[in-house]
Symmetry: C2
Subunit: 454 residues, 2 copies
Amino acid sequence: MALSGEFRRLDERSVIEYVKGVPALWSKLQEADGDHQLTAKEIGDGNLNFVFIVTNTASKASIIIKQALPYIRSVGESWPLTKDRVYFEKMALEEQGRLAPHHVPQVYHFDSTMSLIAMRYLEPPHIILRKGLIAGIQYPLLARHMAHFMANTLFFTSLLFRSTLDHKREGTQFINNFVHVYNSFINNFVHVFNAFIPFPIAVAKFCGNAALCRHTQQVVFSDPYRIYNLNHWTSPYLDPDAEALRQDNLLKLEVAHLKSIFSERAQALIHGDLHTSSVMVTPQSTQVIDPEFAFYGPMGFDIGAFLGNLVLAFFAQDGLVDQPEDRKAYKEWILQTIEDTWNLFYEKFIALWDEHKDGAAEAYLPEIYNNPEVQLLAQRRYMADLFHDSLGFGAAKMIRRIVGVAHVEDFESIADAAKRATCERKALNFAKMLLKDRRKFEGIAEIISSIRLF
Amino acid sequence: MALSGEFRRLDERSVIEYVKGVPALWSKLQEADGDHQLTAKEIGDGNLNFVFIVTNTASKASIIIKQALPYIRSVGESWPLTKDRVYFEKMALEEQGRLAPHHVPQVYHFDSTMSLIAMRYLEPPHIILRKGLIAGIQYPLLARHMAHFMANTLFFTSLLFRSTLDHKREGTQFINNFVHVYNSFINNFVHVFNAFIPFPIAVAKFCGNAALCRHTQQVVFSDPYRIYNLNHWTSPYLDPDAEALRQDNLLKLEVAHLKSIFSERAQALIHGDLHTSSVMVTPQSTQVIDPEFAFYGPMGFDIGAFLGNLVLAFFAQDGLVDQPEDRKAYKEWILQTIEDTWNLFYEKFIALWDEHKDGAAEAYLPEIYNNPEVQLLAQRRYMADLFHDSLGFGAAKMIRRIVGVAHVEDFESIADAAKRATCERKALNFAKMLLKDRRKFEGIAEIISSIRLF
């Protein structure tokens, strides 16, 4: 199934036919007796893809079917984007699921021809974290869960755990060219090649996600700093702010530096789009989804994405209610969550480092880093660099959500434009300061204090 | 020929038989009539390979045949190293030859099964630069030629010239696993695959040089800082110096930082071993050879290797003659060459950047870096970072040549151990200072002044 036929876009009708044709999925739905018991609903609210929930009304069992189209859904066919991205999402879900099993949905099925992936349905009351933040819901375990997810997925795919050879091998799953080779190869020659497996498997492992890296590079590090027809902001209020951004030479220098790290540094397997809409939550559960931008890149890009989006949520709060007082306690919870996430991540990451420091990794060989003082200095320096990278990437991600192509619901749901602009300006000014002065901050507590000043 | 048969190690007799079996080589030697006119001599003085010069005594035409064995020649079978490295040497010679044709020998023939490459014979008076530096010979064009080679090969393979997609594509020629797939594939299935070229070509392009990166990582960034049975130094004189190195926590921190850049940053296609024995010279000609360590890495590793080895040559001079006065002028020439190489490289690199700033590259888009001030700031910052990387890598390369596994003839040819140790200690102390304080230096002139103080 996965290797035959043509790509065709699915709708709420045809997705049911598709599911019935795949035993692995059929069984997950606990064999409804007859079509009438199967319903499908398109629930994708994302920029990129179509997402269906398929339910057996008899057994109540549901699964998620996600299909990528060869363009960006929110923009249309004018902005093509390889549908091979589903292949990387599947690879990343499996790797991250292995490293943080309690925080990643299980993959049931992958179809490269259809650019389709089937996975666990995250049942109610799971909702997108961003919607929870807008609604003012507290998630007491969020910081701990996200710290665990980030520490495990980043540490175990870095040179602090992996040998150089393994790292270089894994690190080149990220050239999209190869996907086409791989796909045509699988589709046309699989009968020939079955003779010499694992050759096609090796090829598959070396596929790459360059197209989506490039997309991120453009929307995060380029668009906000140039005149671009798809950019938008709360006009006319933020017109001067957007203009000032395009005139800020020092800001552009910092952005160029971050862009080069993003483009050149294969530090670990990162999610690549870890904002608050890539996380589904209940008070007890935290699930990280949508890693279709995953590639070997700088760890700080994930940490910064998550923390930066929490900061956006913080600055949106005053606009979401009539009486700012109503969200006073909630704003404190967000700040506490930002602080706890970094501190717990730090703690967990260092614990993993200590636990595995005598392993296969070659970055800090025990016979060289052979005394407590140098070990402490090395970890402090590594984490300080990671902290400053995270602040820089977080700030860049905040800026692009205010003056760039794609905005966030936190602000968009503030109906009063003047009110929205006031919130956005505070976030924008904080982000600009952070991007330029990030190296002056020595700890997360200083960041929290600084946020309070805006 | 290139794709058939088994690997066998060649000697001065069998290499002649091999050459006669390859028309492309036979013709380069201008068809000698009869074997008696062909002579072969093994001239490899390197650590790694066997190098034969094959000559037609009638036509006087000569070619170089280089064969890699599956271990490091200077150490023996106890230190295995993939012979696939010849494949990367061939790829790098072709790419660098395209970018700096006057400074790279032409490749005539490549045989993956035999791990063999045939190339232009660099006729007398070409000699290894290191030997020229030991003999006290001045090369008036050396700085200009090396600046040209480094600027062209580094700029055109970086994100300052290439689009992100091209860069990611090229950047993954560096996973050695794939070479084995590639080789077995070529050797066994080429008749099957000829049907769907360019598939095998694509596979080949994605091969990687991880094994040799790992070797460099060990000998440069690890061995000098740990107790290792293959390390050696001028004992007993330098025993305390070697010990002090292994106790220097701050030095170890800087080395860890450089090691991470070397292992993670795919900035450009670098030669990977650009010391003064990888350059052949006459007063008019400069030829860069032996790029078998080539991979996508940090530019500063090449620049630092070349400058660092010139500094080693400088500190060796006093030991090479009875009267230091004899080399006074020559030492000045070396310092001038160090200064000129960096300054000419800087000039050439910036010229290429300016010339191509409206091209396909996405690192500094013209609509963002759109005023002379920000363009100047961006270039200054980029070059300052590159300068500091180069100083760090150069210092690390100096240190490893004094207390590590492989030493340099500059010092080794000083017979008097006490005298040698004095020279080596000056170089070592300068390198330690440079590694720790490199960020304090703002220009190459300050480096020259600092060298004079040791």
